[in-house]
Symmetry: C2
Subunit: 440 residues, 2 copies
């Protein structure tokens, strides 16, 4: 298999390639046997058996042997990814919260921690150390649950290049070596760390969470304080020169209000979380109506284990309810028919519709998925959003069902970050095996 | 080479694959010998020699043998694509002209015909028959020059699906079986016909004309009566669901003037050729100032052979100067400092800048190339265009040299269409060989 193209492959690279091939086949199959995997990947049964054994000893694969069968030889054992093996760790540092998610090899979230904090007012180093400590706590919980965290992916709302954040306007970060600073907060852990834009990771999370048979090409738009997009093309994220997806700074009105980026009339000024709350006359921290007495603020850290989820084997769950408090308040007001809230959402929906119809005309994605806070606010955004799409997408090619609402909401980025780690392990299991089994 | 993945290849598909492999290697190399080609593609010299012989007999490849060497065996002959062999034919039906270009295997344009006509006022069938006849004349001229036209690609300014035009607003076409109608105009010729959007083909033409070493990823924007874009990613055109590139209908001002598409404030209403001429108070047909007496109109068909170009072996050339007359007049007025012309171009440049900065924020293409009429008008568009890009591309990542001007101008689409035919031959030479040599 490795010898295509007339190039000789070393024994080592052959093993590396074939381990990944077999593991991916196990991941793609439902309870396949060694013989079935061998037939599908085109290797001999003996070779596959030895590779499966290596993956099993490394804890990446489990083999379920029927009760009426002996263990020797395992002729008919059903292979599956080990949900108690290696794990990916996602860390999301956003403007008003930090979140961590640990996912097992099957992609299921197993540990979930959120810290609500106004990261705008903090030093980047302090924010990342604190995020590293939160991730270390999540890793400890994952280890107690029998998992082995190996790969950390950090998501930030900004422009990322080689694990450095060049600019994150809403965090006021410039040239922050985010990967390095997160590692320091993590302490002495043998973890590989990479950094990516949070909307990119959210698009990956959305893709991973899609049901089998759903499309693999879509434009994902994530509403947070900032607005980011991810263009998924046949299951691969389009990155352009590295900084694609900044839909928040697409112009909606050339002479509109000034944006933090220096330009005027950006989408973010109409449909970003701050703009939305401001237009609805809500305080962005306390979620109270501006001018009224503030209620108790929701800045407390929640770390206790909430009610479990995730297929009954959750180690630690902490849904980020407080972080979404102002958005929940906005949704509640809109549900009550509050005029300012409904108007603010209609204006945001229209602005989103103008920007998205431009993106659809330019890129013609089969679907558009709105996520982040837009998932929660969809009922009030969608009417004006659809009007714009129907009016502006060229030649009436827009159909309402091309617009989808993410089921993950603000969870998408941290879930995608954890999933990106899992994908890295599945892509190259030998790196993980060599890392965890130095004696082999 | 064909047996990767454990799949057996039939002898026929092996030959097909290897013929293409060898031909592409000849195209990519500068005067390589059979031995060099064999080494590069990883086949034996004997196999390559027999494949080269087949390509040579089919007229796809030529071998230059040094004078002091006999012809037998040709050990050191330099291989090259045959500039007198198979040819690709590009046909462009645009709003105010129809153009044909025949390119030889090296991609060099060899025959070039243009017919200036107001295709807006014509029936689609009549327009396409007439385009077919023009193409037939170009093919006849190409045959007289020793070429063998085999593959026709038709470009139209509209939405194309499976060789049908679903909608071309500026031609007022809906559901036109364009490939079929063009074939009828072509008469009894053994030619394969395919249809594509003209901005897509222009982007391909731009890519093919780039000097070696230039980037293979860029956003190309073509100004005509309509405005189209093509996103080139590593040398491959991004097509989305099939209708990507409609940048002319990206919103510049949500409540702006109504567009032919039914929406408001589209880029085309500010920077399309008609909008530009109208803003400069020029008649779009006569190129005279509105209100003054019309000069002689430039609607005559030019088919005579003008002065040759194309590396000294041009069969027939007819640069489309008349078709560009109104644009030339606009450029001349702007060069004289005419206030209305200069203002119209500045407004168009600003609108282009708003739309393009959005596209750059979303897609981050390494370069943006403006072509079509924008190439000619670049000196007056670029200042206001650059201002917008510098102001609106996120976080000051815009550098002026990311904006390029196409050297092909309005030639790009028809050149790209001819080149697409050539690429089809190079991708699968056996189809051409089987077509032209039924006896083999």
């Amino acid at each position: 298999m490795m010898n295509g193209g007339g190039q000789p492959a070393s024994k080592q690279s052959m093993r590396r390639h074939n381990l990944a091939l077999v593991l991916r086949q196990v991941a793609a199959s439902d309870s396949a046997s060694r013989a079935t995997v061998a037939a599908r990947v085109g290797l001999t049964k003996a070779t596959v058996s030895s590779l499966v054994e290596e993956l099993r000893l490394a804890g990446l694969v489990v083999e379920h042997v029927p009760e009426n069968q002996g263990r020797v030889g395992r002729p008919g054992g059903a292979l599956a990814l080990n949900p108690q093996g290696a794990a990916g760790v996602g860390v999301e540092v956003n403007v008003d919260y930090t979140a961590v998610c640990v996912a097992d090899l099957t992609g299921a979230p197993r540990v979930r921690l959120t810290e609500h904090a106004d990261n705008r007012g903090r030093d980047a180093e302090e924010t990342l150390h604190s995020a590293g400590r939160l991730a270390a706590r999540a890793c400890a919980a994952a280890r107690r649950a029998g998992l082995t965290p190996v790969q950390v992916t950090l998501g930030v709302p900004g422009l990322v290049h080689e694990d450095k954040v060049l600019h994150a306007p809403n965090l006021d970060w410039r040239h922050v070596p985010a990967g390095e600073l997160l590692v320091r907060g993590l302490g002495r852990q043998r973890l590989a760390v990479s950094v990516d834009n949070e909307a990119n990771l959210a698009a990956i999370g959305e893709f991973q969470a899609r049901p089998a048979g759903a499309g693999a090409s879509f434009l994902y738009v994530s509403g947070e304080i900032g607005i980011g997009a991810g263009l998924m093309v046949d299951g691969t994220l389009f990155r352009g020169g590295g900084f694609a997806g900044e839909i928040g700074h697409v112009t909606v009105l050339p002479d509109g209000p000034e944006c933090g980026c220096g330009a005027r009339g950006c989408l973010e000024r109409y449909a970003g979380q701050d703009a939305l709350l401001e237009a609805a006359a809500l305080d962005s921290v306390s979620a109270t109506r501006l001018g009224s007495a503030p209620a108790a603020t929701a800045t407390a850290t929640r770390t206790g284990g909430g009610p479990g989820g995730g297929a009954g084997r959750s180690a630690l769950q902490d849904p980020p309810a407080e972080a979404d408090a102002p958005v929940e308040r906005l949704a509640a007001l809109a549900a009550e028919g509050d005029e300012a809230a409904v108007r603010a959402l209609a204006v945001a929906g229209r602005a989103l519709g103008v920007a998205l119809s431009g993106a659809v005309n330019l890129l013609d994605p089969p679907e558009v998925v709105i996520g982040g806070i837009y998932a929660r606010l969809a009922p009030w955004l969608i009417p004006s959003l659809q009007v714009q799409l129907h009016e502006r997408v060229t030649s009436g090619r827009w159909r309402s069902d091309r617009l989808q609402v993410s089921g993950l909401g603000t969870e998408a980025a941290v879930r995608g970050a954890a999933g990106a780690g899992v994908q890295a392990i599945l892509r190259d299991p030998s790196a993980y095996i060599d890392l965890t089994s130095p004696m082999l």
